[in-house]
């Protein structure tokens, strides 16, 4: 395969050239965008080949470590291909966006941006194409480290460094758990290859199920931390706002999905169907429900635009995990329902990559234009950035699951599967109801986001600090338009992604037992009629619905024109008094206080209102930062300081250490032999 050579050459050359030309911001940016464009083209080509010809594998492994049983061989199946497409598209638009967006950091060197960006993308690609747990871990770490440098891009800012440290420590605790799990599995068969690990698990299910459960729980912790699952994923709200917006889009759009990829690969491809799949299905669904509740409720009280979006990432990952968990739990009971739930989860992964990246780009555009992320200080931006306003509206509709946009389909499938599945396992009905409830909370949160930034008229103070020009530069808008188009198309033509993802199930645990896709989703070309229980359990024909809605809107428009009313522009009426816009603006911090008061005992601290100060009861127990991560770091620092005292700077002392070390080694060797 020639493609891999072009890919490696692009990554290496791109990294070097962007680093060397970093003094010229334009040139470095252009090379960065060009490299990512080539990488995206390669990814789309590979994915196209996989979708048309079936899984592709590289003939020879690139690297082999026989002593530990690890092998770097590249294989792309349908699951990997879907993730490759996502990585390609989001990275491309994120990088294109960054080309002009990086103007807002005139004093920061680009040498710390584009090279790391390209390596970060390469790391993510590595994670989804390897067939070996050892190199999976290697690329996983590579991805984490490069993204760490992108998160702490503004290295002078204490808060950002703090956020970066939290990200670094939290994800590494997760990764360590994953590594321990991997090594425990490897010890069973002496190889890291996915196929051998599957054999190991098959043996352990019979022989030592408890040990296997522990291993799976470790993986759950590792993948969950990366994905942003609630108690362990709280690095997101700090790290995502810290990074430049293009990178935030990639972090939230694709990087946290690597955790989901891990879940899919482990539970749907490696773990044989057993009691463990059922148990972990319920556990994952429960964690998903907790994440979507806690994440979204916490988002409701945020007024930093990107922090709000990051909390929504926790919430939306909750939806994905709920779908996955439902899929796992029903694998034995009702394979069709299980397949639909899993497809809904993968569909939501795709949708979330699109609308969440778009939202981060929109928040970035607002930051680029106004220099602030505080929603309380924004307002009336429609008059200066109409394109961004419309794109934000599209993305908000998508994430809130309003038909005919893309979020609706995946959430609709998740509601259907959880509630109809819940007839057998009632707890899933509860999960489904929470998901429905949270969907309207999401809508509320984005209504606040949209209306506080774009609604009303522009205040004088804000108007004075705007960056000149209409809206934002075209290359930034282009990325937003493209992602918004994807949001609409994915909502109108659900068959395309469903058809592309369906072969995933043939390669996974489901095997060949599933009926063809037409039997699951009905035979109509225009829409989906899922068959979950006995007969059809629901219906949604997006194109029909879209046309009907458009027709009805036209009727409404015609009716409103019937009277041929004259039109006149008037100022806002404030009971006869004359006020400045800023004096009477209803700000983001004031929204929803009576409702939020009901959840005050549960939500994340750093709240917007004066009324709600104390961290909640539930939160105190789950505050991993305070209970675990920060003490852990403090301990490490203390240990290092103590350890430093042994470095006295006297050669004799070092000689003594060496002698002691050699003696210890000899003792160990004698004991071993």
């Amino acid at each position: 395969m020639q493609v891999i050579n072009i890919f490696i050459a692009t990554v290496v050359l791109g990294t070097l050239l962007t680093a060397l030309t970093a003094r010229s911001r334009k040139l470095s940016g252009a090379i960065g965008v060009l490299s990512v464009t080539i990488i995206t083209a390669i990814l789309l080509y590979v994915a196209y080949r996989v979708f048309t010809l079936g899984p592709r594998t590289l003939m020879h492994p690139l690297m082999s470590l026989p002593t530990i049983g690890a092998q770097l061989s590249i294989s792309v199946d349908h699951l990997s291909a879907i993730f490759l497409v996502l990585i390609g598209l989001v990275s491309f638009f994120g990088t294109l966006y960054s080309y002009r967006y990086m103007d807002i950091y005139p004093h920061q060197s680009l040498v710390r941006f584009y090279p790391f960006l390209i390596l970060f993308i390469a790391g993510m690609i590595g994670v989804v194409v390897v067939t070996d747990m050892f190199f999976f871990y290697v690329f996983w770490e590579f991805m984490t480290l490069t993204s760490y440098f992108l998160v702490v891009y503004e290295k002078e800012d204490q808060d950002i460094l703090q956020a970066g440290l939290k990200y670094f420590v939290m994800t590494h605790v997760g990764t360590a758990a994953m590594l321990i799990g991997t090594i425990l599995l490897q010890a069973e068969v002496g190889s890291f290859a996915f196929l051998r690990l599957r054999d190991a698990m098959a043996v352990m299910i019979v022989g030592s199920p408890i040990k296997l459960s522990v291993i799976l729980a470790l993986f759950l912790l590792g993948f969950g931390t990366k994905a942003g699952m609630f108690p362990v994923g709280t690095w997101l709200p700090d790290a995502h706002p810290a990074a430049p917006s293009g990178v935030s889009a990639m972090l939230s759009g694709v990087m946290i999905k690597m955790g989901i990829y891990g879940f899919l690969r482990l539970f749907f491809f490696l773990l044989p169907v057993s009691n463990q799949t059922f148990g972990f299905g319920v556990v994952i669904a429960a964690f998903g429900t907790i994440s979507l509740f806690m994440g979204t409720i916490s988002a409701l009280v945020q007024h930093d635009s990107k922090r709000l979006l990051a909390f929504h990432s926790i919430g939306q990952i909750g939806y994905i995990l709920l779908g996955l968990g439902t899929g796992l739990a029903f694998l034995k009971i009702n394979p069709v329902l299980s397949a639909i739930a899993t497809m809904a989860a993968i569909y939501h992964v795709i949708n979330h990559s699109m609308f969440k990246s778009l939202l981060f780009l929109n928040a970035g555009s607002i930051f680029y234009k106004t220099g602030t992320r505080d929603l309380n200080r924004l307002g009336g931006l429609y008059s200066v950035m109409p394109a961004t306003a419309w794109m934000t509206l599209v993305a908000s509709f998508s994430i809130a699951g309003i038909p005919p946009f893309n979020g609706f389909i995946s959430k609709w499938l998740i509601y259907q599967t959880t509630i109809i599945g819940g007839i057998k396992l009632p707890v899933f009905i509860f999960f489904g109801l929470v998901a429905i409830f949270i969907s309207s909370v999401t809508l509320a949160s984005f209504l606040k986001f949209f209306s506080t930034s774009f609604g009303g008229s522009l205040g004088k103070k804000l108007a004075s600090q705007l960056r000149p020009g209409i809206d934002v530069p075209f290359s930034m808008r282009l990325s937003q338009y493209a992602l918004a188009l994807f949001c609409l198309l994915l909502g109108l033509f659900p068959w395309v992604p469903l058809r592309l993802m369906y072969p995933v199930f043939g390669e996974s645990l489901f095997g060949t037992t599933l009926p063809p896709l037409q039997q699951i989703f009905g035979n109509s070309r225009f829409g989906l009629v899922p068959v979950l229980g006995g007969g059809e359990s629901g219906a949604w024909f997006p194109v029909t619905g879209f046309l009907v809605l458009t027709g009805c809107l036209l009727v409404a428009l015609i009716i409103s024109r019937l009277g041929r009313a004259g039109s006149r522009t008037v100022p806002v009426w404030s009971c006869g008094e004359v006020y400045e816009t800023d004096e009477i603006r209803y700000r983001a911090g004031s929204f929803y206080i009576p409702l939020v008061a009901y959840f005050e005992r549960l939500v994340y601290p750093e709240l917007a209102t004066h009324k709600i100060q104390r961290p909640g009861r539930a939160y105190k127990g789950l505050d991993f930062d305070k209970v675990f991560y920060y003490p852990f770091v403090d301990f490490l620092l203390l240990f290092s300081q103590k350890f430093r005292r042994t470095h006295v700077g006297i050669p004799q002392a070092y000689l003594l250490y060496q002698v002691i070390g050699i003696a210890a080694l000899v003792a160990i060797m004698i004991w071993l032999s």
């Binding site: 429609y382 008059s383 509206l393 309003i402 038909p403 609709w412 509601y415 259907q416 509630i419 109809i420 007839i423 009632p426 009905i429 109801l433 429905i436 409830f437 309207s440 809508l443 509320a444 949209f450 209306s451 609604g455 009303g456 008229s457 829409g527 979950l532 229980g533 006995g534 007969g535 359990s537 629901g538 219906a539 949604w540 024909f541 029909t544 009907v548 009805c552 809107l553 009727v555 409404a556 009716i559 409103s560 024109r561 009277g563 009313a565 004259g566 039109s567 006149r568 806002v572 009426w573 404030s574 816009t581 603006r585 209803y586 004031s590 929204f591 929803y592 009576p594 409702l595 009901y598």
Partner: protein, 301 residues
């Protein structure tokens, strides 16, 4: 195909042409309760015609303000096509009850976008209240409908209606009907839950700046929503009697809707407005009732 189109036209005619009559009935009723004479039954038609011709005042430099009423009225019309009104939903094959509920959400979203677009503090406060109530209401609506989904294993409204019609009353459905009925009040913006509009304190909230055709569309949307929600309630929870002859069923449904609207109107006439936090507490209680209904449905009674 012809049947679908005919049914669709009937539904549209009901929500566009017959809806203001219902409002006329409510106004008359309210006047009777207040010992007034009240306007004639067809007064709402005159109001709408007058409003359509009145000057269209434009406040914000923001087109979402003028598009919002179109969005509201348009999505209510679309929702009407997914609602069974006596003889099955015209577009029931293309969208189930979740689709219907979300089209109604889209309608209230239109109101909310219009309310915040102007930057008027009254509009924004009204919008925030509307959204808060929306959050608690939507889950109650769907939870009570899910009680019917559990035995039928389907979200298809016509299927649900036929199932309940043939099996007869069940305990879980009767319990679930109560919260749904109490929710009608808030969905239709009636006392004691007209908190977002709150004429005396917010001067209409989201509708404050809307004038002329915009106000006409908002009002018309509300009238139409009364018919949609009352029909939904009746088709799912009280689907009797049905003759099997489509025109007769539609007529029966229309009369039943009238009864429901009258009850809603009486409650509206005799109640004061409550605060938004009281309302939220009230709905959380309703949701607790629904959990009972869901559990009963799961054990099949």
């Amino acid at each position: 195909m012809a049947k679908t189109i005919l049914l669709a036209l009937v539904n549209l005619a009901l929500v566009i042409l017959a809806a203001p009559l219902m409002e006329g009935v409510i106004r008359k009723l309210k006047a009777v309760v207040h010992s007034r004479k009240g306007p004639p039954l067809i007064q709402p038609y005159f109001d709408l015609l007058k409003l359509l011709g009145k000057e269209n005042l434009h406040v914000a430099g923001n087109p979402t303000f003028s598009l919002a009423p179109v969005l509201t009225f348009g999505s209510i019309l679309a929702a009407a096509l997914f609602t069974p009104m006596g003889a099955g939903a015209p577009l029931g094959f293309a969208g189930d009850l979740i689709v219907l509920i979300y089209f109604l959400v889209l309608a209230s979203l239109g109101i909310m976008l219009g309310g915040t677009a102007t930057g008027s503090p009254y509009g924004s406060i009204g919008t925030a209240r509307e959204m808060m109530l929306g959050i608690v209401v939507e889950i109650i609506v769907l939870s009570s409908l899910i009680v019917a989904v559990i035995p039928t294993q389907s979200f298809n409204l016509s299927l649900i209606s036929n199932w309940y019609h043939s099996t007869g009353p069940s305990l879980s459905m009767i319990i679930a009907a109560v919260p749904f009925f109490l929710i009608l009040q808030i969905q239709l913006g009636k006392l004691p839950f007209d908190i977002p509009e709150a004429d005396q304190e917010l001067m209409g909230g989201p509708f404050l700046e809307a004038s002329g055709p915009k106000l006409a569309l908002y009002k018309w949307g509300f009238y139409a929503k009364q018919i949609i929600l009352a029909s939904l309630f009746l088709e799912v929870f009280i689907p009797w009697p049905k003759t099997g002859i489509i025109p007769a069923d539609i007529a029966i449904n229309f009369l039943k809707v009238l009864v429901v609207i009258v009850v809603v109107g009486v409650i509206d006439a005799v109640n004061p407005r409550i605060r938004v936090d009281q309302a939220v507490r009230y709905f959380i209680m309703l949701w607790a009732i629904l959990l009972f209904a869901v559990s009963f449905a799961l054990i099949g009674v």
